[in-house]
Symmetry: C2
Subunit: 343 residues, 2 copies
């Protein structure tokens, strides 16, 4: 059943198979056979062959052909992993969209798409290396393997990396060490002593930095070591992990979650274990969830000012594309502290 020709089926293939020209095939494919007066019998034979041979149009060829030389068009991509929650790119998307709407004109059109790769497999994304897909990209949520790949090759087009420091690219990230330190300040300053830091099992540079800075700050300020708890990216998994931890350490009184999705699960586990937040356990997140202020209780966050991060990213991206900037830079955005009811 599985048809496995070595060469793909093109209009030429079909044309040869039917015994007509490629033009005739194309005419049928675009449903122009009436106005171009192809004989119904020929149309039918072509249709038949199209079906039989399993023709798949080459979109790149169509696009090239359809290209209107009077319209500049630029393809922007936001690259993230399948594994990371999609809402993480929402803000970047909105800001890019705003910029793009402002820069669009009849002779200048942008298109933005979100493209995903499997965590750690960025290198497998088609078109990345040969620059055949995007005029500019924002890369985010990479794992260390992806970072290593990026470090090893310099992509020959506009690239802005979020949340990593890579010497050969423009990078925008929160000031290293700050987030974790401020979280520790809040919890320790609130007299919490039995602390937990909750992270995903797969750590990115950002999440690892938050954890490490938190641990270091807590150690420095209290002489005690926070307990690491790891979970998947889902709240359900975080809830389960925290539930297990509470069984082992019932007196725990403060928690720092390095992503808000984890904090959401933690809040749930705490409440269903009968702990009051913040009276019994204080919880700090990072503000990467668009609805952190609608959690119950609303989540205190220590994290980068996303609007600023995104504004920097977009500004760098457009400068790179217009070649106003050619050297890589690192832009640090200081974390902001949003105190809400969870502490």
């Amino acid at each position: 059943m599985a048809r496995a020709e070595k060469r793909p089926v093109t209009v030429q293939t079909i044309a040869k198979h039917v015994g007509v020209s490629a033009a005739a095939v194309s005419t049928v494919l675009s449903n122009r056979h009436e106005e171009r007066r192809l004989a119904p019998a020929t149309v039918e034979r072509i249709r038949q062959a199209v079906r039989e041979l399993g023709y798949v149009p080459n979109v790149a060829a169509r696009r090239l052909r359809a290209h209107d030389p009077d319209v500049h068009s630029m393809d922007l991509g936001i690259l993230t992993t399948f594994e990371a929650p999609l809402f993480l790119v929402s803000r970047a998307l909105e800001e890019v969209q705003r910029s793009v709407d402002a820069r669009s004109a009849p002779d200048r059109r942008f298109s933005i798409s979100i493209d995903m790769f499997h965590a750690g497999r960025l290198r497998d994304m088609p078109g990345l290396l040969n620059a055949s897909r995007f005029n500019g990209v924002i890369i985010t949520n990479t794992l260390p393997e992806d970072d290593a790949f990026l470090r090893s090759t310099t992509l020959p087009y506009a690239v802005v990396v979020q949340g990593r420091r890579l010497p050969n690219y423009c990078c925008v990230l929160e000031t290293p060490g700050e987030g974790g330190r401020r979280a520790a300040e809040i919890l320790v300053g609130g007299s919490r002593r039995r602390l937990v830091v909750l992270t995903p099992t797969l750590l990115t540079e950002t999440t690892a930095d938050r954890r490490d800075a938190f641990v270091a700050a807590v150690r420095a300020q209290t002489g005690r070591e926070p307990v690491h708890v790891a979970a998947d990216f889902t709240p359900a998994s975080a809830a389960e992990a925290i539930r297990a931890h509470l069984a082992k350490d019932p007196r725990c009184d403060g928690l720092f979650a390095v992503t808000d999705t984890l904090a959401l699960g933690a809040l749930h586990a705490l409440k269903s274990a009968g702990r009051r937040v913040p009276q019994d356990v204080a919880v700090v997140g990072v503000g990467d969830h668009e609805h952190a202020d609608f959690f119950d209780p609303p989540l205190t966050c220590v994290g980068p000012a996303y609007d600023q991060v995104v504004a920097e990213i977009v500004s760098l991206l457009f400068n790179l594309m217009s070649r106003r900037r050619v050297r890589p830079v690192e832009v640090f955005v200081a974390p902001t502290v949003t105190l809400r009811a969870s502490t």
Copy 2:
């Protein structure tokens, strides 16, 4: 400052400008000038021109050229609006990804991207009409204008529409009328009489159907009319709207939100107005938020079984692409009821 050539800058333009061949320009652009022994001075002149003229590579041309004839590649798109929350497409994305991973092979590669349009402006999306972007698409979150556009033209490739009934496309949607009816049943059956239905201001076919069916069912069962409350797509806006409504109708005791994001805002407003959920006010959502079971209290939902919806969509999409299916069909997925603590 603004450079506004009529014709776009191509490698040819640059070549002519510098007085070399297009091949030389291309060589420089791909950083192959060392191995191909271009004179450093020439390289510099070309680089200069590239910068001066504001060259932007044509990705379609690059892709066509880079195309490996031994690899079939298919481009899939998930089309949604900028205005709708991104997480709404998460599940579709995951399922498509699973299917694609299962069907990928060394000689068969898929790429999936999420592309967005402004609500009501689907027609403006480049490459939709001339089929120059995707081999197959899933279209969702359309407004009535978009539906009208789709109805008026039959896109010449694999299209599956979610949540709408369009005679010329394959459509997958929840059984019309069912969701609203079941929500009414739950609230009325729980002896709630002063009911509210909370919707976005911009109604899609799906959200309008949920509202209308709810209103009709409540009217039939109680003889009373639920109150309409409308808000933006955000929880903040929903909270504000509900707060205002509570001021006018303090005795309201049941609420149906046609999207979970709105429910999230409503829960917040209710709690901060001192109402207990579900004792004072029962709340029903639709289960379109991935974390509805982590809301506080966890949200009772009446909505389509998303896994099933998505499975149907993906199956239709692949059947369309392989031409195993050629006629449009409508697939209805019955809503499921998930009772949680909010009722």
